[in-house]
Symmetry: C2
Subunit: 382 residues, 2 copies
Amino acid sequence: MVNTSVGIVTTEYVEFDLELQLESGRLLGPITLAYETYGTLNRDRSNAILVTHAWTGDAHAAGRHHPDDRKPGWWDDMIGPGKVLDTDRYFIVCSNVIGSCKGSTGPASINPRTGKPYNLGFPVIMVRDMVRAQVLLVDHLGIDRLLAVIGGSMGAMQAIEWGIHFPERVRGIVPIAGCGRTSPMAIALNAVARQAIFNDPLWKKGNYKPEHPPADGLALARAIGHISFLSDRSMQLKFGRRFSARDGLFDFFGRFEVENYLAYNGSSFVDRFDTNSFLYLAKALDLYDLAWGFESREEALERLDCPSLWFAFTSDWLYPPYLTEEVIAILQKLGKPVEYHLIASDYGHDSFLVEPEKFTPKVVDFLERRLAEAEKAVTGDG
Amino acid sequence: MVNTSVGIVTTEYVEFDLELQLESGRLLGPITLAYETYGTLNRDRSNAILVTHAWTGDAHAAGRHHPDDRKPGWWDDMIGPGKVLDTDRYFIVCSNVIGSCKGSTGPASINPRTGKPYNLGFPVIMVRDMVRAQVLLVDHLGIDRLLAVIGGSMGAMQAIEWGIHFPERVRGIVPIAGCGRTSPMAIALNAVARQAIFNDPLWKKGNYKPEHPPADGLALARAIGHISFLSDRSMQLKFGRRFSARDGLFDFFGRFEVENYLAYNGSSFVDRFDTNSFLYLAKALDLYDLAWGFESREEALERLDCPSLWFAFTSDWLYPPYLTEEVIAILQKLGKPVEYHLIASDYGHDSFLVEPEKFTPKVVDFLERRLAEAEKAVTGDG
């Protein structure tokens, strides 16, 4: 049997003793980034692919931390020897974004000015700020130019920002199930999720103790988010109108199976994610607009200098295909090398995680072409 | 200028001193129903149309209670002299459903067995139970056979139940933006709205004082519901990504306009609706399945004996068109006289309230044909 796992991996941490100027004008520092790498950086340092994670993701994209881990990293389907992100050929890097709670600097980190956790003293960050911090890591790893940046959802936004703001540092971007700017529908869903947390008396304006988080509020917020990751069709397939076997249909608190699922998913989320991080990252999603700081989206996208490969999913109603397509239309008008695929899938926003086989062959091709270009560039230079 | 208003109207109340057997097997009684009527019942009592309201609607469908009322009844666009539901020709009846809080018996009513409000002692009700109570009112008004039952959303469900369970009492039904059974998506949205209330410490398992309702929880629940009544497109048109003029973009609590709207809408709802009623009616929506108690939907719909006119709206993602269309397909297979129109509208589930002009000409025709049939029947009998 062929081993397709990267095996046992370890999260690494790097601290940057500097102050990063954020889009808001505020400074953040020092900055710690948690990251993992899989595969080997080649001699020319030209085979590095940065994987960017979604809202509640982390640096642990592949393999296991311990042999008895129940689950591998979040994109293990994609990353490993012989897989789409083939660790026999590519050097894969994944780092936890700033603002998160999975090892990188976020609202739960200690504010060096006060010696206490930032909590709401943490600055509002944008996706662009996450990318600026990733640049520090890529520099640290000695990589001048990434072969590609690839990610879904908030990961797609990071890929886009890399392409626009660091065009000389990347040979290709692969935004999956993303958008050029979030819609008022997505903002509205985040708004009610936020309010669910604000309503929880344990939240205390962000000053909860880590051991006493606003569990009910966060679980509800997550359940709201979770609905938006699914689709009408995927819920019909998965739950239909099945009623909980233990409950009476006419019990006031009786639940349909879909309710049990959301409640379970919400509760288990509380154990693995920090509430304030959830809020800060939701804010970053709401604020996301690739045109931020430019006169227009055209002006922003004019800066994109590398080939890009985009995917949207028919049943994704959180970031519906039109949000990607309006970006594609601009790129085509600007004559940029762009490839776009609308993937038919029933699994809503989560389609990119549920049915990767529907789009990954295109990714394999795209990366091979980028690698060929990179190798040609080295030969040309040499 | 032509007067198209029904003018000043008064809500009437009728009490039925009986015990209604509910679908759950429990008994509910005595039952008070709040209702309004507009127009005049003709000599043959053949021109009565029952208007059935949605989730948070009430008996006050048209006109004003006081000359200085800021707003008329909820379907005033539709009801009045010369309007679609023409009070010069038809006798319009609208009653508040049981389980609600607008004058009909609901969880805030006094339980005669305890002398205290029912609160969670109120039985879980189904849409079919609401209709059974309406039958009492129609009997009380001396109407053997309604010309039509017409309503949107939960009102559509009531119209369907009238057609299936009281086929001899109705000449036509007009279900608008309804469904034959709610989807797991709709249930999931209600589940998180419910949880928003359950999480509010003021809810006290339904035993809050009316003057101290769980305002934060109810406002949030309403905001969640409200999102599902809109559409991606209608939010783009109405709010886009406009940010609140008073807030800083990088304020943690800064809001987009869509957030202000939802917050305002949620808060104002608290003043006009009872929390437990909201929960009981949400439950009735979740439980709605026209096949309940039958072997199949075919068996249920076989009982429908009158012409029916159905509307669904392209952008309605709460009760998407396919939910109506699967009912239409069965009716057509059964050879029932059915007319269905899919209306192109951007306004989501609320389209039926926002753009009535897109479907009302079909309603006018349908009602005229029913009236002609009724008159012919009288002549035939006479």
